[in-house]
Amino acid sequence: MIALLRQLAEALLAIALAPLLAGWVAQCRAWLQNRSAPSLLQPYRTLRKLFHKDAVLAEQASPLFRITPYVVFGTMMLAAAIIPSVTTDVPFARVADAIALVGLFATARVFMALAAMDIGTAFGTLGARREMMVGFLAEPALLMVLFNAFLMYGSTALPTVVHDALAFDTHGLLLRPSLAFAGVAFVMVLLAENGRIPIDNPTTHLELTMIHEAMLLEYSARHLALMEWASWLKLFNYACIGFALFAPWGIALHADTASPLLLALALLVLKLTVAGAVLAVIETVSAKLRVFRAPEFLSMAFLLAVLGILVHLLLRS
């Protein structure tokens, strides 16, 4: 019972913090680009505004179009419950491994693409096709990154990975070049999957370049709010996967007492702050790639991840 409460609390924490992370990234970007920054709470205000509006649906919209926001938000919430962000001692994290997690992200993507094509406008279809192209290239790269960690710790479950990584670190310094490869690859996948700048620009509505925004064009009010929230939650989830794989310090292994949990929470906020700032810097210094260059970018990520695995296998003996 307590464990379930903990589980619920972790998922709710992710849902509550995700808009804050998005607001922080937007704020950092504005500072770096010499613009006056929007408030940190702007995403919450956007959500409140959208939830108070009346939804408008296209006449041709099928039920699929209506349920997609709920499905997408639900899968992202479930993913947030599976990823050990604060503690590994939650029931869902033990049930589903990281491969199931990739499957969850894929489910959300398929629903989004179908809903975007549902109305039949040109932009929705365009966005959906581009999203699927990016997705089918990013997914193997993400899996290879995960395999890196699985191979190193001998488990496909994120809690075990975190557990073993923390146990190794107490033994002494252990340099892992393969994890460095995987880390770079993971950042590239994160940028591509969350519609960040080298692949897609989250703030643009320019027809020729948008990917993610093109799929949301037909949504309004509460549906749009859920879709936006889900995309922020996705960024949050990716960041937490990254922390679990590459920077697991502070994640509480036992959640019986309050003090490790509070420490883990404080460290999570700290790590998110740093990660958000780094993301803003990456987005500011890089130029957006043409859509046709996206496969190159993602094949580079795939290559790096596979190289990580190979280097691990070679240097292990």
Binding site: L175, P177, A180, F181, E296, L303, L314, L315
Partner: protein
């Protein structure tokens, strides 16, 4: 899981860095950045040689690390940069087709090299024996780069990267070659780059371009 010593771990990190730079060179379009990458590769090579010298107590490797630093990090990149400026190709971008395929071929080469090096490194007794596979991979990737490029300057950079790989292989398999051989190779490289520089000007005079595709139309008269 047993823990290798800290020096060995650092060596592995440097070896992985060499491999990474090889792939970056394969995908780099700008000649100036290619030269910078070559210098970085030399720097990593020099650092790894120094580390081997310290851990294995091989006095002659200190000299070879210093030689690498002087020649491959400072002199050769400097000469190439000068050549680039003289030839007026400083901002030039080399068109590369199908980088994704090139990367996948490179990946296959790495797997091949690792497989090839496994039995050899099982027999070696040096602290760096596991890095032999990476050295072989660097060599094969440099070959791939020479094959994939069309411009004369980038092919020469490929040859220099190839030599870096060979040097790393020698260090990791047998603690380097005798000093005389190493000095000889260093001199060869230096002279080689000078000769290539003269060739560049001749090629450009003949064809108004450094694209080696024009060579295909050459006929004996």
């Amino acid at each position: 899981m047993h823990m290798p010593s800290l020096a060995t771990q650092f060596l592995h990190v440097l070896a992985a860095g060499l491999l990474l730079i090889s792939f970056a060179m394969l995908a780099q379009r700008r000649i100036r950045r290619l030269i910078v990458l070559l210098a970085w590769q030399g720097a990593l090579l020099s650092a790894s040689t120094l580390l081997v010298a310290i851990t294995a107590h091989q006095a002659h490797l200190y000299y070879s690390a210093a030689l690498t630093l002087a020649l491959k990090v400072i002199v050769l990149p400097w000469i190439l940069m000068r050549l680039m400026k003289r030839l007026g190709i400083a901002g030039e971008v080399e068109p590369l087709v199908n980088v994704s395929t090139l990367m996948l071929v490179g990946l296959a080469l790495v797997i091949f090299a690792f497989g090839l090096a496994q039995p050899v490194s099982a027999l070696a007794t040096t602290v760096t024996r596991q890095a032999l596979g990476i050295a072989l991979a660097v060599i094969l990737l440099a070959f791939l780069m020479i094959i994939a490029r069309r411009k004369a300057v980038t092919q020469v950079i490929g040859i220099l990267a190839l030599e870096n790989g060979l040097f790393f292989a020698a260090t990791s398999a047998t603690y380097g070659m005798p000093m005389v051989v190493e000095l000889g190779i260093a001199l060869d490289l230096l002279v080689g780059v000078f000769v290539f520089g003269i060739f560049f000007f001749h090629i450009r005079e003949q064809f108004d371009s450094l694209d080696l595709h024009h060579f295909e139309s050459l006929k004996e008269e």
